[in-house]
Symmetry: C2
Subunit: 235 residues, 2 copies
DNA sequence: TCAAAAGTGTTGTCGCTACACCCATGC
DNA sequence: GCATGGGTGTAGCGACAACACTTTTGA
């Protein structure tokens, strides 16, 4: 026996929802689609699953092709399979979301794809069901970040607590008490205080911290309850 | 333009991890595979995605074909795409997990598939990567049930708090203080007390409760924190 | 009357929010 | 010295785990 008979085969794609944080705003990396149809319209970066690669490999390949980055935090989100989601022919899409340190990739935007970082609250129209994918990704990111120390992936290796707070406030579209926030974050003991301060944003300056990689990996699955009143914030 | 060119198409399947609870044990509904290869070996129920159906439709079709049930709680879990996961040819599988009230479907096990309810801790060897799917499903169920009132889906319309507790204890493979458990559950205000008692398990008898469907739907996304020390329990 | 499960009451602890207040520095 | 963020101290409240104790009923 060599193949299953009487069943229909279809294309499979991976699409990447790529989040970045520039210190102020949360952004998504979008491209202008190079293929017909909808050529030139805004789209998530994606690609077809090749014959000998796994889904994870495909997602990483697609991300690397656009950004040049490897070893980025990525997570499989959801499969989208409406029969008519792509008007050309049936394409099943597996969506991944990625969190990248925008400073590692801000300038050298591949001109090949006309990629741009777009403010998450000012997204253009997107092709196919990509808008829905983005909405699901935002929701999942909020959900996950309420419980797990995932947002560090968006920051550079050295960062300050106020920077981290701005990031969390952006994700949850709210404000937190800075005094309680810093205490809560420090109480996780995931951060290692550095000697230097960042004086860009205040006269006193805020100490830099680095992530304790070992503890981060060990405690990743723990429920950390970063966010006050998660019930209310998560819709 | 009618099709994308130069890309490879493949089969897509859905596989269902079907959980049930018989009042004492948590079980999985497995079948004995009817197709070659691995014919006769234990497997999850699955089926190929048809040309004009969505993933959800396919999952529901597969579930109905085996159990006759519709409107069952189902959730998309994860896509599995290792190139060689099926030795016959490349098949991408989207796994769904389902929670069903075992009493609605215990006797009329379809002889067509040689289906059986198998104790979750005594699973046989499974074909392909189905073992991994089951493990992921267990983990996701634990995770989700720690925060959301999802396990009611496994119980009949009327149930007692001690029954619910046995279910939770089975899921988390631990024991809870019955006094605190009942208070915690009742504090959610999701349950409506009935007049009758279940006297099968004690002389005093335990009151039956029904789920307040309206509140259940409204509060489903809230973080309910059903479980003490979720950190420690979830691995 | 006693065994056994169901369920209520109570207490101490812990973690959280809210907010007063101090700190370091550039101007 | 004063404005501006950064950060610590503290008090009150609420949630929760632990566990004593009462209730109900069959045998």
């Amino acid at each position: 026996m060599t193949r299953y008979t009487g069943e229909s085969r279809m294309l499979v794609a991976v699409d990447c929802i790529i989040f970045g944080f520039d210190g102020t705003d949360i952004k998504l990396l979008l491209i202008q689609r190079g293929l017909k149809p909808e050529k030139g319209k805004w789209s998530l970066m994606g690609g077809f699953l090749q014959e000998n690669e796994s889904l994870e490999q495909a997602a990483n390949r697609v991300l690397k092709k656009l950004t040049g980055l490897e070893g980025v935090y990525m997570e499989q989100m959801k499969a989208y399979g409406e029969p008519l989601r792509d008007p050309v022919e049936r394409v099943l899409s597996i969506a991944y979301f990625a969190l990248i340190d925008i400073h590692q990739y801000e300038k050298q935007l591949s001109t090949e794809y006309h990629a741009e970082w777009v403010h998450i609250k000012k997204l253009p129209e997107l092709i196919f069901d990509h808008k829905k994918m983005v909405e699901n990704a935002k929701k999942q990111l909020r959900y996950k970040a309420a419980l797990h120390p995932i947002l560090f992936e968006l920051l550079p290796a050295k960062f300050t607590i106020p920077q981290l707070q701005i990031l969390y406030e952006g994700i949850y579209d709210t404000t937190f008490d800075n005094r309680n926030f810093s205490r809560k974050v420090l109480s996780t003991e995931l951060l290692i205080k550095q000697k230097e301060k960042d004086k860009a944003n205040s006269k006193k300056g805020a100490f830099y911290y680095k992530l304790d990689k070992r503890k981060y990996k060990a405690n990743f699955q723990a429920f950390l309850n970063f966010i006050p009143n998660p019930d209310k914030l998560l819709l």
